[in-house]
Amino acid sequence: MSYVIAVDVGGTFTDVVRRGSDGRTVVAKVLSTHDDPVSGVTTGIRRVLTDPSEVTRVVHATTLATNAVLERKGARVAFVTTRGFRSVIPLGRYARVEEDRYDLRFTPPPPPVAAEDCFEVAERVSSRGAVLTPLDLDSVRRAAADIVARGITSAAVCLLHSYANPVHERQVAAILRESVPNVAVSSEVWPEIREYERATTTIMSAYIGPLMSDYLSRLRGSLRELGIDAPVHVMDSAGGVISAELAARRAVATIESGPAAGVLAAAATGLPAVVSFDMGGTTAKACLVRDGVPELTREFHVGGKGSFGGRRAGTGVPIKTPAIDLAEVGAGGGSIAWVDEAGALRVGPRSAGSSPGPACYGLGGSDPTVTDANLVLGLLSSASIPLSRALAVKAMERLAVPLGVSAEEAAEAVHEIVCASMASAVHVVTVQRGIDPRGFTLVAFGGAGPMHACRVAERFGITEVLVPAHCGVASAAGLLTAVPATERVRSALSAPDPARIFAELAGEAAHDLGLPLSELRVTRLADVRFAGQAHDLTVEWSDDPGTLSARFFAKYTQVYGIAQQGATEQVSYRVRVTHEAETPEPGGIPAESVAAAPTSRTVYLGGPVEVPVHTRATFTTLDGPAVIEDPEATIVVPPGWRARLGGAGAVHLEHASDLTAWT
């Protein structure tokens, strides 16, 4: 029998799932080893490993790139650009949002490359690709010498209009590579118009690349020591898997690797209209999945501020490589509740994280968190570690006393506020995009997701919630369903020969994956806008201009709610290639719950109520209020909801109109 092993390294836990060719799965959850993630990964794999020679593939999702950016631990990067533009990165682009706007002491976030590490070379190419000023090779050699003299070993090259003509960038890269070990080039990384975003995308690749390359080669070394010689695949931000080699070369494409894997688990349910809802310790994330395909975005901001479920453009570093289009709010189990100076109850954005963690963990935390509130309400009883209700009550009293209410009332308000906050992530991916969420199924996972899912669903009139088996290790499970896929782009304003561009892009993308084009499904896309407008939308290409325009008008209406027609133009061309040959069967992880007799306990729902407590093995249908406990998560069935055990161990929750609603 052959096996596939999926590994998801998260902030707190490393999850490992092994699936055999017979469909049987084994799961391991071990603590992540932050300083060297490889050791946590190998510990986890050892727990599930039988015969290493039968492992055919290792699929990996990692937060290495994200953490490197958030903690500013990437390589020192030298930035090389066209003469006259070395200030552009230090000047940066940022929006002052929310409280920053009235802050006279606001200081811009430090740029991804320090001013003194930015270099210029003499050259100029026009927007149509014509060479206006030939490249001065001596200016490149001077920059290279300076970079080496400073001890910098990673460089990013982004020259103006290189998407239209990369000849100068290639010459610069060739010279730099003689003395600089790692060189990322914008026309290779992401040749799309707008030099600032193209530069930051390239810089981030240079920033993360050496780390990623080193990490993956050490990982493969450790796997070989375990006897595993199978290829290692890495999940990219858009939910495709790419080879470890490509992941190292285009590291920027893996920044959203972890969250993307979770969305794939929701996609794997096979339902036609899904809102994926993932709530962990510090954030909650939502994503729309239609017909099994997650929505993608072609610009996101890393390390920026989130607000109201959207990532504020301009508050982080823009990245142009495609990513699953997630909305994210800083609301999770560890979010801290507090009373502001005018007496209003607030939750987050500060989180207790895993250290010290919620007060009830007994690890020294004393701030009241969402997890503490859920414990006080009786919604939660235990987790992978023992919980202290007494400590949770004590923490809740820090809110209850100044507010003049009971600990239970304060806890209920915290629960309500955090549900509303998470709902705003769902709001962003549905209502704000002109999509009616009624009729969608909310697929809930992550440690805290199933506890809040029904309340979030109610806010949108969503009547179906699904909690997959092993919802606590859903991201690792999602990796098993991923297939090789990648994307290529090139900007050219209404190119005369799009067919040639598409053919070239498809060839490059196939080369990226190391697979013959004949085995790949090729999707052609174009970025279209109204002539003269600044914002474009990505739509599926058609050789018929009328059809292409019609697709653009339809998307425009969907996104902005305005039916408008007019002359259009194309800005960029994209090809997405997907390997269809090994599409795995969806879902299908049997649950492993222990069949014990149901118990009961008191929960607080506007007053104490005794409710039954089940596992997935002790019921087939169940009316709320009730609680279903998994080893890694707790499902709350509120009054008005009915739980049913479905195929593959999934729990289906339905809002039953004949039952009294929990209001």
Partner: protein, 560 residues
């Protein structure tokens, strides 16, 4: 007490936010491309500001707030589905290119709330394409005026209004695209508001909103009470009015901190003039409120509750409260002066939060000389003044103009307009020297491939922003014309449709921020760090800081 009031407050801001997203993404006007100048707000029937979108500048939400009662006065009977527009600068508006759009939301048969949106539209006539008329002597030269009128009904934009707007625009299709975006934005926010009325009930929503405004007022008053009581005065000059370079103009303020309130009295400010350096009252109100808020807890929400604690007095017929037909298009010149005056007065009151004066934004337009029109309408930012304990940020949209920094992108501009962006650079040594250094200005160079017109609207290009407490002023920027033979000539700060020919270049240099504290107190490590990063040059270091034994760090490329 309502434990979950935060949920409703959040929902109100999100409703406004959604409206602004629709406007920003679907509008045509290049001015709002980055979402910086698009606004959306939710108001009550009396014009009290309930919530506004995150990118909304106070300039815009104050305009919407002041104009709404004027719209209601002219239209006592409104119907559900009606949408109104105005740009009347003397009744809350800003200037002719900024359209204010309002939609009533009915409760129990009467308009109870209004959703409102606003942007600088692509063109509505006037002296130059895109809405800049720096040498206008009355408002008629600035563009089409719209008193409060019915813009749209359930059936769409009123055809006669559309005909008038089209006839008065150089870019009729784009203007109608902008107008439709504004109307759609109000519809999105109205839908959300109706959902909230359903969820909370009419009385419940009203109670929740009242609680939100009271909460904000309480936080504002508590923050004001922490400031020292007293009367603090300051004045700030304006370079010139663009017509008479020698006529002096200034803005003056007396800030009285009364404990849980504040009075900002602008008596003594210069009279309105027949030149484009006047402001409408709503814009001056915004400047005063913004500058004061910079000295309060920045996390206080912005709504009517905050305004209740403040008494802003704007003398009628002054530069800060102009009457018809005095032009208002150049309003940011007097209101930046007003803001600086308030900030300098409060820097006296709260020295630990003091900030030196700043360079400001410098708008300009580059336009085709005839049809087909292309236009590049943009602004570069000056450096911010040094703060006590902190250097000033470089070339940043500090203060409230825009509240963001956006470097112009050469690639999209060159793809759209017949020009070459030669460089975008910070100017070394342009930050005012001091213990804490002012932020740098920038230099951007546009070389033209065809003849075109350049229009500018600058200030603080003749009188530099002063330093504080021994700090030196920031370096003056300017607008310049470089001839094909390389000679560079300074333009006046406010010029209209200057002809540039092929091969000539337009140079925009922004002014640096003032320094704070004596330069001799700046530690050597910080001077050396500035040398490494290129904030200062070696000659500049010796001239401005005269450090002993300063050596250039090896490998520095800062001044190459």
């Amino acid at each position: 007490m309502d434990l979950t009031a935060e949920v409703l407050r959040h929902a109100l801001v999100v409703a406004a936010e959604e409206a602004s997203i629709v406007v920003v993404r679907s509008a045509y006007s290049t001015f709002i491309v980055e979402g910086s100048d698009a606004s959306a707000a939710i108001l009550d029937a009396d014009g009290a500001l309930i919530a506004h979108s995150m990118a909304t500048t106070l300039m815009n939400s104050m305009a919407l707030k002041v104009a709404l009662p004027e719209v209601r006065k002219d239209h006592p009977a409104m119907r559900d589905g009606d949408v109104y527009v105005t740009n009347d600068a003397y009744r809350g508006g800003v200037h002719t290119n900024d359209l204010l759009v309002f939609r009533p939301v009915f409760v129990g048969g009467v308009p109870r709330y209004f959703t409102a949106t606003m942007i600088h539209v692509s063109d509505l006539g006037g002296l130059s394409a895109g809405g800049m008329a720096p040498l206008a002597t009355d408002i008629f030269l600035e563009g089409l005026q719209l008193p409060p009128i019915l813009l749209a009904t359930d059936a769409g934009v009123v055809p006669s209004v559309e005909a008038v707007l089209r006839a008065n625009s150089r870019t009729p299709d784009k203007v109608m695209g902008d107008v439709r975006a504004l109307v759609s934005g109000t519809a999105v926010a109205a839908t959300r508001l109706r959902a909230l009325i359903q969820e909370y009930g009419e009385a419940g929503l009203a109670r929740g909103i009242a609680g939100y405004l009271d909460y904000t007022e309480e936080r504002t008053r508590a923050a004001l009470a922490e400031l020292p009581r007293g009367r603090f005065t300051a004045a700030y000059p304006i370079d010139d009015d663009g017509l008479d370079p020698d006529a002096p103009h200034h803005v003056q303020v007396a800030v009285t901190l009364t404990g849980r309130g504040a009075v900002l009295d602008f008596a003594g400010t210069g009279p309105q003039v027949p030149a484009a350096i006047n402001a409408s009252a709503s814009q001056s109100l915004a400047a005063a409120v913004f500058a004061l808020r910079c000295f309060l807890d920045p996390s206080i929400p912005m709504n009517e509750g905050c305004l209740r604690a403040l008494d802003i007095r704007l003398p009628e017929g002054s530069l800060l409260n102009a009457r018809s037909p005095y032009p208002c298009g150049g309003r940011f010149v007097p209101i930046y002066a007003a803001m600086e005056a308030v900030i300098q007065a409060l820097s006296e009151a709260v020295p630990e939060r003091a900030i030196a004066a700043s360079g400001i934004l410098q708008p300009f337009s580059i336009a085709a000389m005839g049809a087909p029109y292309w236009i590049h309408l943009s602004y570069d930012f000056g450096g911010v003044g040094a703060r006590r304990g902190l250097d000033g940020p470089d070339a940043t949209g500090v203060h409230f103009g825009i509240g963001r920094n956006s470097v112009p992108q050469a690639e999209p501009v060159e793809s759209r307009c017949p020009l070459v962006v030669e460089s975008v650079e910070t100017i070394p040594d342009s930050g005012g020297p001091g213990r804490w250094r002012g932020g740098l200005g920038t230099r951007t160079v546009y070389r033209f491939l065809t003849p075109c017109h350049v229009t500018t609207r600058g200030d603080r290009l003749r009188i530099p922003p002063p330093g504080r407490e021994g700090g030196k002023p920031g370096r003056l920027g300017g607008f310049f014309k470089r001839s094909a033979d390389g000679t560079v000539e300074r333009l006046a700060s406010k010029v209209n449709n200057v002809l540039f020919t092929e091969g000539e270049a337009f140079i925009v240099e922004t002014t640096g921020g003032g320094g704070l504290g004596p330069p001799s107190d700046r530690p050597r490590e910080e001077i050396e760090a500035d040398l490494r990063s290129g904030h200062i040059t070696e000659p500049g270091a010796h001239r401005d800081y005269a450090p002993r034994g300063l050596t250039r760090s090896p490998g520095s490329n800062a001044t190459s």
